[in-house]
């Protein structure tokens, strides 16, 4: 599929220009992939939520809102996004400082801020970060010079540390990752990458003793040995594995998952929804889900390859890979490959804020795909 990349993009453009969807800046394959995932998600939520139409209605409203945001952003040409990237980044950074100074607490963490509406600035940073780093590299010579590399790393780590302070380790790492992806795609030397990996390994004990909170350490310990806490977090891991495993190849059938429907999974329509899916739809369902995800990722990378400028190319690829990290971490966590991190399964889990951010990201991809200058460089 990657080979479909054609340096002569304009011929492609002329053909598609006639379509109405193109005029509204919608990428049909991407949209279809997203809609299929959402439909799958609604089915699983219906089952996991005890067949409550209430949850479905709420989720439909959220999906509708998310799609509207996506369509809206798709209308904005990438050069405008590029123009606004620094302002957005500075604004998000300002909000993050504000959260630390006078944010609202919920469940022991200070993540919210109230400016007429209550929202999490970290969600804003999820988009602002890759946009900013892409903006930074857009007009620079690539691969970046050492100096530019250092500047870009600073741009990545300042907001990351602020979010880590909230404390929200999971989100801060994800946001850092989205920035680091851009640096990766900018073409930095493998030497640097190797160094970074070594540094990360060295950082692990430092993180363990100086950064991580007890509950986070507990999660890791429990992940390594679920029997350590069979009634707490380990209990969730054991139970979600029983749910998935007992699904077998073909699953127990929609609405028939006995494990999922018992009260053992606390977040079965949000973070642990994959366990319900695995139990009710089996390995086949899991295969379909992973294939849908792969399709979206390939489409995202393809759009990035066809992008007309550096900004769009870097940003598109980073958004796509960040999406992958989300689903990988969630599925890995629920199936016992990774420690428990509070992260929803993208486009499947019940929940609002993070989904809107994700769809906004896909809006950017559609914008990159559909706003094309007819002249070639």
């Amino acid at each position: 599929m990657l080979s479909s990349y054609s340096p002569n993009a304009s011929s492609n453009t002329h053909k598609a220009k006639n379509s109405l969807l193109w005029r509204f800046h919608i990428d049909v394959p991407l949209l279809l992939g997203l809609l299929m995932l959402m439909g799958f998600g609604l089915m699983v939520i219906y089952s996991a939520g005890g067949e409550s139409s209430f949850l479905i209605k709420k989720q439909l409203v959220r999906l509708g809102f998310g799609l509207a945001v996506m369509f809206f952003i798709a209308q904005i040409p990438p050069r405008i996004l590029q123009l606004w990237a620094p302002a957005l980044y500075v604004l998000a950074l300002g909000f993050l400082f504000a959260v630390l100074l006078f944010g609202e607490s919920s469940k022991g963490a200070q993540r919210w801020i109230n400016i007429g509406i209550r929202f999490q600035p970290s969600e804003m940073m999820k988009l602002a970060m890759p946009m900013m780093i892409a903006w930074f590299f857009a007009e620079k010579a690539l691969p970046p010079s050492f100096k530019n590399l250092v500047v870009s790393l600073l741009l990545v780590f300042v907001p990351t540390l602020l979010i880590m302070k909230q404390p929200d380790l999971g989100t801060s790492l994800l946001i850092a990752t989205s920035g680091l992806f851009i640096i990766f795609f900018s073409g930095i030397r493998w030497r640097y990458i190797a160094t970074a990996v070594v540094a990360a390994v060295v950082m692990i004990p430092i993180m363990w003793y100086f950064v991580m909170h007890d509950y986070q350490k507990g999660r890791v310990l429990t992940f390594l040995n679920p029997e350590r806490d069979p009634l707490g977090a380990g209990y969730h891991i054991i139970q979600s594995q029983i749910a998935i495993g007992s699904g077998g190849v073909s699953g127990k059938g929609w609405l028939q998952g006995t494990q999922s429907q018992l009260e053992f999974l606390p977040e079965r329509h949000t973070d642990f929804i994959f366990a319900v899916l695995g139990e009710e739809f089996g390995l086949i369902g899991v295969g379909i889900l992973l294939a849908l995800y792969l399709f979206i990722i390939i489409r995202g990378l393809q759009i990035s390859l066809q992008a007309q400028d550096t900004f769009g190319r870097l940003l598109g690829a980073a958004i796509t890979l960040t999406f992958f990290v989300y689903l990988f971490v969630n599925i890995g966590m629920v199936s016992g490959l990774l420690p428990v991190v509070g992260l929803p399964l993208p486009l499947i889990s019940y929940g609002g804020t993070s989904m809107v951010t994700l769809l906004a990201g896909f809006g950017i991809l559609m914008s990159i795909k559909t706003h094309r200058r007819l002249h070639s460089r």
Partner: protein, 642 residues
């Protein structure tokens, strides 16, 4: 001035990007395969292990319901407790959707469960977890338990469970104060769900995970949060049939708070008895004027709240709802009655205080009053009038209507509605029962808004004798009497005196604080109170017969409210008029006169005159209360009957 590395090399950039994208894609596919093989291991290679675990070894977290708080009267008499009963419970998941209707029908035949109860049960389970059990019938008799046990094998998913259920030992006497419980319904759940979604706080829903009943009226409703307590939970291991093999961990629930009331059950009971003796409908409210505590809150007839707790049967419900006596109607807090002459002392005080009249202002009473330039005669209850010279004190003692017709015109409606609001008319009394109605304290603005008419002088005339648009609840009347007794200090009325949390006792302090009416010259309050005292005394008091031979001193005011308006050329004849058009009898008062301990309002529907019907009941209740609570009266000999 370009440096060499600052030049953008698009070709190189794109080819590097292309290569990195391919590498990224390969890693992505590799990791997706890793995920897939992880599931493959779980779902195919280890399938048997997990399948067996899922079948055999179900660990569940079960919520444990807290014990609901008790309700006790001021002397510790239990008014609401929890009794252990046998309940027939159904776990929808085990019965299965298809078998549910059949199971319910067969159960109905076996154990006498009617269609209404079945429908209510279905409604109840629709929105709740299918994995918990819900009661379809509580309070099974021993015989019913035996019948079910024999047939148990025919009903998978149905079981008899020992449960605690709300029980009211003196249900019918106290129902209109305590309220009642019934099953949590769809509307409750939807409301909580909405609240929870809006606030992201699911603690309320979680807290009711093991609870099936909720307070629907009265104190049970108002103090639902305090009474309910906090849910506990236990982790249990169950076998394939869902039977508990062992409890792994338990976190005990926290019982609800006990409510200690101001209410005096023996007074409450006495009031009910007195009403039943004469077969009257109506209400009694007794208040401790020194605290605003409710001593009795009676609405007759009552009904048995225990009928509702376990799900009321169709037959019982129809009987209650169709009864002409309207037992479900809480007359004490929701009944709005014309206060009639009972508010004459309040009006008199207002006029004296404002200087509209003084204590020697006299008018002539020919038996009627009419407005200038108007032929309409507003009649006095005494057709031939009270004579040539009536002052304010005489007019209260004998309840002279003509005097108060004129007085109200002199005061004017604006003055009256502002003044009467100080006694609490037209407002909530602050009582801890949400169902409370406010009645109507009419004003020009009120009439414009509600009737879209201007205020006429004639309207004011009627207000002078507590008729016309003016309505008040028995609660407000008792409150207004307490305000007089207490020299103008108004408290928020409260049923609950103290909350008991474990062994700790906390006083109930109402949100609104006390208010003092502007008494101006305290002398005028004394004038009015003295007149009220003489109402209970010979030679002329309208309640003199009722209070004859009483061992305590009292103050009061009788009232007789027309229910049907009488045309100019008609006369009211108690013998011929239909029962439902007979006058309402009212009385307000307090005792002892010198040192008030109890303020009271009695309203009797269609009973006739206030002096002859309501006042005797008030007197007996005052006597009863003072005897049991005031040592100085306890030794006195029985009172002479009227």
């Amino acid at each position: 001035m370009y440096k060499r590395q600052a030049v953008k090399d698009y070709g190189r950039e794109i080819s590097i990007f292309y290569m990195r994208a391919v590498i990224a894609l390969i890693i992505v596919i590799g990791l997706l395969l890793l995920l897939f093989f992880r599931q493959f291991k779980l779902q195919v290679l280890s399938y048997d292990t997990y399948q067996t675990q899922s079948e055999n070894n179900r660990i569940r977290v079960r919520p444990v319901a807290p014990i609901r708080g008790l309700i006790l009267d001021r002397n510790g008499v239990l008014l609401a407790e929890n009794r252990s009963i046998f309940a027939l419970e159904i776990t929808p998941e085990i019965v299965g959707k298809k078998q549910m209707d059949d199971t319910l029908t067969r159960l109905g035949l076996l154990l006498d469960i009617d269609e209404k109860q079945i429908n209510e049960f279905k409604e109840q389970i629709k929105f709740r977890s299918k994995y918990k059990s819900y009661p379809i019938k509580s309070k099974l008799s021993e015989q019913q338990v035996a019948i079910f046990s024999v047939n148990k094998h025919l009903f998978p998913g149905v079981s008899v469970e020992a449960r605690l259920e709300r029980y009211y030992p003196h249900g019918e006497d106290v129902v209109h104060a305590i309220g009642r419980m019934s099953a949590i319904n769809k509307a409750d759940l939807e409301k909580w769900e909405k609240e929870a979604q809006a606030t992201n706080d699911f603690s309320r829903i979680n807290n009711y995970a093991a609870t099936n009943k909720i307070g629907k009226l009265g104190l049970e409703r108002f103090y639902e949060k305090e009474l309910h307590g906090t849910v506990g939970q236990e982790k249990v291991e169950t076998d394939v049939r869902g039977r508990i093999v062992r409890v792994l961990e338990r976190q005990d629930p926290i019982a609800g708070q006990n409510l200690h009331l101001h209410l005096d059950y023996s007074l409450q009971k006495k009031a009910n008895e007195l009403f039943k003796e004469v077969g009257a409908r109506g209400a009694v409210v007794a208040v401790d004027p020194n605290s605003g505590g409710i001593l009795a809150l009676v609405s007759q007839p009552g009904y048995d709240p225990n009928l509702f707790t376990g799900g009321i049967s169709q037959a019982n419900y129809s009987a209650l709802i169709n009864s002409e006596e309207r037992p479900l109607y809480n007359r004490a807090v929701q009944g709005t009655y014309a206060p009639a002459s009972t508010i004459k002392p309040h009006l008199a005080w207002l006029a004296l205080q404002q200087g509209v009249i003084n204590s020697s202002t006299r008018i002539a009473d020919p038996g009627w009053y009419s407005l200038p330039d108007n032929e309409h005669r507003y009649r006095d209850w005494k057709p031939w009038g009270h004579g040539a010279t009536m002052n304010v004190v005489d007019s209260i003692i004998q309840s002279c209507d003509t005097f108060f017709y004129e007085l109200s015109v002199m005061l004017g409606i604006n003055n009256i509605s502002a003044g009467m609001e100080q006694f609490g008319f037209g407002q909530k009394t602050g009582l801890d029962i949400v169902e409370e109605k406010v009645g109507i304290m009419p004003s020009r603005a009120w009439k414009k808004e509600n009737r879209n008419q201007f205020w006429y002088m004639g309207d004011t005339v009627n207000i002078g004798i507590g008729q016309g648009f003016w309505t008040a609840t028995p609660l407000q009347l008792a409150n207004s009497s307490a305000v007089l007794a207490n020299d103008g200090i108004r408290f928020d009325l409260q049923l609950v005196k103290e909350f008991q949390i474990g062994t700790k006792v906390e006083s109930n302090i109402p949100e609104m604080s006390t208010e003092q009416i502007t008494t101006g010259d305290g002398r005028w309050l004394d004038t009015v109170k003295n007149a009220m005292h003489q109402v209970t005394l010979p030679p002329l008091g309208t309640a003199k017969t009722a209070f004859e031979g009483a061992s305590f001193s009292a103050a009061g005011k009788t009232g007789t409210a027309q229910v049907k308006s009488i045309a100019q050329d008609e006369t009211y004849d108690a013998e011929t008029v239909e029962d439902k058009f007979k006058d309402n009898a009212l009385f307000i008062g307090y005792a002892p006169f010198e040192n008030p301990q109890i303020a009271i309002a009695v309203v009797m529907e269609n009973a006739g005159g206030g002096g002859g019907n309501a006042a005797p009941i008030a007197r007996k209740l005052m006597e009863h209360y003072l005897k049991s609570n005031d040592k100085s009266l306890a030794s006195n000999q029985p009172m002479g009957q009227q």
